[in-house]
């Protein structure tokens, strides 16, 4: 798309969208957001990139094939679920680690649930880009 305005705008918007998507991902457990929404927003960053600058450039910037990213996301999500096996719990039993937990404060939570959500993010992100890139390249 040979629009200078759009390309200029994309330069900022794409970054914004990516940051926003990660924000949505990380806060999802406590406020609206999460892996789906994060992934959707994140993918729009590259969709916009592809629209403004062409798929070739978007692919180059992304470096990884989006479908591999999506599949890897699926694997990460599953591994997050399988992690519970190490503790003898059933599949998808959340395993939590509270960094710096005290009597009163829970500390910074790290959990398989978050890892799962990251997997979701990657799947949505990668899948949508797979679709959109492939369609764009058809035209």
């Amino acid at each position: 798309m040979n629009s200078i305005i759009l390309r200029a705008g994309t330069r900022y918007l794409a970054g914004l969208l990516l940051i926003f998507s990660i924000y949505m991902l990380l806060r999802g457990h406590n406020e609206p957001g999460g892996g789906f929404i994060g992934g959707l927003v994140g993918s729009t960053a590259f969709v916009l990139y592809a629209v403004a600058c062409g798929v070739k450039e978007a692919r180059r910037t992304l470096k990884v094939e989006p479908q591999s990213l999506a599949m890897a996301g699926l694997g990460i999500a599953l591994l997050a679920g399988l992690f519970a096996a190490l503790f003898g719990d059933p599949l998808f039993t959340g395993q939590w680690l509270f960094i710096g937990a005290t009597e009163t404060e829970k500390g910074l939570p790290l959990s398989t649930v978050l890892v799962f959500d990251i997997g979701v993010y990657l799947v949505v992100f990668g899948s949508i880009l797979t679709l959109v890139f492939a369609m764009e390249e058809e035209i």
Binding site: N2, S3, I4, I5, R7, A8, G9, R11, Y12
Partner: protein, 160 residues
Amino acid sequence: MNSLLVNLMFAAAWAALFGAFTTLTLVSGFILGFGVLWLLQPLTGGSSTYFLRVWYWLKLIAMFHYELVVSSLSVLWDIFTPNHRARPAIIDMPLDVKTDAGILLVTNLISLTPGTLSLDVSEDRTTLKVHAMFAEDPEAVCRALKEGMEKWVIDAVEGT
């Protein structure tokens, strides 16, 4: 942009002091940091353009809002009155801004203020096609845009 970075670091440090990265701490930290930087300007050797730039930005924002409100009313008028008062024209406005950010800002601001709408920038980035609603005199509109929006933007973004 070095100074901006330092300023942000100040803000972060300030917030860390409070033990909480809230909007309040960060914003107050930023303002505080700005003040400190300005005070220490000779010491740090930072260029004075940083402070000037901030001033231009503030001016840009203020002028933009003023324009926004004033020209909105004229569009409203046209919407609510039975006759169309508009005298539209498409104006080719020569562009002086060069950077992407500058072009984006100029076109966006032109679009956001009622009465004018950026349609397209030519491939060689030299002309901006603007649709003006009230262009009895296209030349005048063009001049107003160049001396208003574009100049403010050049000041704020591309500096001197």
